[in-house]
């Protein structure tokens, strides 16, 4: 009988376990110790060097993602809460100004999020994260938190 290593050298298909008509039972997958012992050792050594940089990158990406999610929640909070704290304006000028102020307040979390990336484009990631966090403090939707959603 021909061993697995010599299969390519043989025309005898009956002894090939992968052959449909083979009389030989295919060996269970897990049992095959085909690869030499050097390979697992190399696999252990290899990842130590490479993932140092991508690890910080993915940490930052996850942080940006979480902060961006909070920004979205804040925006929803502003949309739901702002109607409770808006007064009907008397004249056109203050009506326009009030509308601008409302848009600014609703967009404030997103403005901080985008602005943080623009302003810290040459800074370290930690500075960017701190500016982003400061934005979350500065644009907290107080009307929604204190008064709840307006009906």
């Amino acid at each position: 009988m021909v061993g697995d290593d010599e299969k390519a050298l043989s025309w005898d298909e009956v002894s090939d376990p992968t052959h449909v008509d083979s009389v030989v039972e295919p060996a269970p997958k897990g049992v095959e110790p085909a690869s030499p012992a050097v390979e697992p050792a190399a696999a252990v050594v290899e990842p130590v060097e490479t993932p140092v940089k991508p690890a910080t990158g993915s940490f930052l990406l996850v942080s940006y993602g979480i902060l961006g999610g909070v920004v979205l929640l804040y925006t929803v909070g502003w949309l739901l809460g702002i109607r409770d704290v808006v007064f009907v304006s008397r004249d056109t000028l203050s009506a326009v100004a009030s509308t601008i102020a409302q848009v600014l307040a609703i967009a404030a979390p997103a403005i901080w999020f985008g602005g943080s990336f623009v302003l810290t484009r040459a800074s370290k990631p930690i500075v960017r994260l701190l500016v982003l966090l400061l934005g979350l403090v500065a644009t907290i939707p107080l009307p929604f938190i204190l008064l709840g959603a307006s009906s």
Binding site: V85, A105, P143
Partner: protein
């Protein structure tokens, strides 16, 4: 270009810059000054009108002066801070800083109104 030469973006931290203040920056600051002035005007109007309406319902002693004063201080302080940070930065950064400050002022403005609402409700409930 030599390798030792520092890129122009590098020293643009909040403290280090040596560039002169451009006229364009001052024009931008003036335009945003008008927008900030609207919020200052509103805060002053509140500072004058709110005590009157409190007095009208016999609560002249319970005027929330701290909230009124904070409401006036926020747009003034944020304008000064934004101006100080934006002064010697590129034009794009200057505009971005003022827009961020203005949005924060607008947000806090409505936040102050919400705080007024809550303190007034607590005041009424305590009577």
């Amino acid at each position: 270009m030599s390798a030792i030469e520092t890129p122009p973006e590098q020293p643009q931290s909040i403290l280090a810059p040596k560039k002169p203040i451009s006229v364009l920056t001052l024009i931008i600051a003036a335009v945003f000054g008008l927008l900030f002035a609207y919020f200052v005007y509103q805060a002053i109007a509140n500072l004058i009108e709110l005590p009157k309406s409190y007095a009208a319902i016999g609560l002249a002693d319970s005027v929330p002066w701290a909230v009124l004063v904070i409401g006036l201080a926020i747009p003034v302080i944020l304008y000064v801070v934004a101006f100080a940070i934006a002064l010697r930065r590129p034009v794009l950064d200057t505009v971005v800083i003022f827009v961020m400050a203005l949005a924060t002022v607008a947000a806090f403005g409505y936040g102050i109104v919400a705080i007024h609402r809550v303190t007034f409700d607590l005041l009424i409930a305590s009577l």
